[in-house]
Symmetry: C2
Subunit: 285 residues, 2 copies
């Protein structure tokens, strides 16, 4: 079953080539698609002003095995279309609306990112991280928090990991890098000067440069390997809210990739790290 991404568009396109009664059915469906998914064949036939078998024939014409199957395809098609709409928070919003909007935006961002994941770039980045002698995560502003998060994740792999928010430290570390060092730059825009400059400095050494940033940005240009994250429109007026979520999940993906690379024998090591925290917590009652 080749589930058509947009059934309504297909119907619309074929409107001319349909018989009179089939066209009536098409029109009825186009007028109220959601309702059509909930109707019985009888009520849809009535709404279109045709007989039930006409509706049935219509369905088969569009590749369905029958009316129920057609409804299913229609519902599927409608569901995937509605999804990707980001809604900005407005001053007229209240506690019942804006939290949902923000969550929806976050979910949408992740779904979009998931569909266009640069898998090859991710795979290559995993390779590089797995064999690095040292890893530096550099970011500024919001991305500094992401870098910090990455640090907490990657130190588990027995690779020394460093993070610095100080641009001067970043420059100096970049300058003193050598073979086996990996610099991982994180930036939403990929245009932050001091960060790009640090990348340029690192580029002149033997170190490997990986970045998680916008495609075609100056930072991407400086990188040996770049994981592109689509820069979305500025729905959220004043803060990059969703992009850092995507960055975090991609870093999770990288960490998982390295774990898989290390193999099953590595699990006890991770378990030991986890256990080490046991005594810092109040026991569960």
């Amino acid at each position: 079953m080749t589930s058509e991404p947009n059934l309504l568009a297909v119907i619309q396109r074929q409107l001319n080539e349909l018989n009179k009664s089939e066209a009536k059915v098409a029109q009825a469906i186009l007028n109220a698609p959601e309702e059509a998914t909930r109707s019985s064949i009888a009520s849809l036939a009535a709404a279109a002003g045709v007989s039930e078998p006409s509706v049935n024939r219509f369905c088969k014409r569009f590749g369905a095995t029958g009316f129920p199957d057609f409804k299913l395809q229609l519902a599927t098609s409608l569901a995937s279309g509605v999804r990707y709409v980001s809604r900005a928070v407005e001053f007229s919003d209240d506690i019942n609306t804006f939290p949902t909007k923000l969550f929806d935006n976050a979910i949408n961002a992740l779904m979009t990112a998931k569909e266009e994941l640069p898998l090859k770039a991710i795979a290559r980045a995993v390779d590089q991280i797995a064999q690095a002698r040292r890893v530096y995560f550099f970011g500024l502003g919001t991305s500094a928090a992401v870098a910090r998060d990455a640090e907490h994740k990657f130190f588990r792999f027995n690779v020394p990991v460093f993070t610095h928010e100080d641009p001067l430290m970043q420059r100096m570390l970049a300058a003193s890098a050598g073979v086996g060092d990996l610099f991982f730059f994180i930036s939403h825009t990929g245009r932050t000067k001091v960060l790009v400059e640090a990348a340029e400095i690192a580029r002149q050494t033997e170190a490997t440069i990986v970045s998680l940033t916008a495609e075609g940005s100056p930072l991407a240009d400086q990188s040996h390997y770049c994981i592109n994250v689509k820069i979305e429109e500025d729905t959220e007026q004043y803060l990059p809210m969703t992009s850092r979520l995507v960055q975090l999940v991609i870093l999770d993906v990288l960490a998982a990739g390295v774990t898989l690379r290390r193999g099953e024998g590595f699990t006890p090591h991770l378990a030991r790290i986890k256990d080490s925290l046991k005594d810092t917590r109040f026991p569960t009652s």
Copy 2:
């Protein structure tokens, strides 16, 4: 029509509270969701090993008017592309499967959190933050990165914001707190001793204590206001991956709430902050 964004997650979550036969139906659906959307009630009943009316009752229990309506909702929910409920990464996974799994898990976590958002607690927290004289964000480990992110967000509101990862600093600052100070504790488990102790110390002052943590935890007990985040099962064996995403989005929600509270006249101030970064970036070509 309350079209459920992720019906499978809802089913999964309620598995325990179902009767024997309803649980069988649930299992059958979770095993092969897309097949279920194409089955008749009879074949699904057979697959689950129960009678047809049991399937029907199951559907109604989940808000559908009947079996066809349920299939529709299920198809709609599946169409979003977020497949299974929570899938752990396994060593047999490769680059084509584990990134998707991690994204799906993240998306699911946000969807679940969205459904059970503690709106009243959020509203109260917004109130408190909006009128605080000073705000401290305290977290440790992964939550330290979240706290850092919060700092980047909330300083924009003309309220002094502080973050410290050092437990000793946290204690000392807690001890020296006074009226108008707000301590915002972030913790996945709510059981980290040094953090809870800092909260206890702060509690003895005039300061307000807000936490973003697990319900019923020691940290929650120390808080005047607690935003509960459901602690999910430990699918991710060794790292809390999804919970921090939820924490971040909830902090976005709080920030948005404070922005709305400040009113429209506050927008220029935010714009000025944004503009201040302009010269740090390479211009867009």
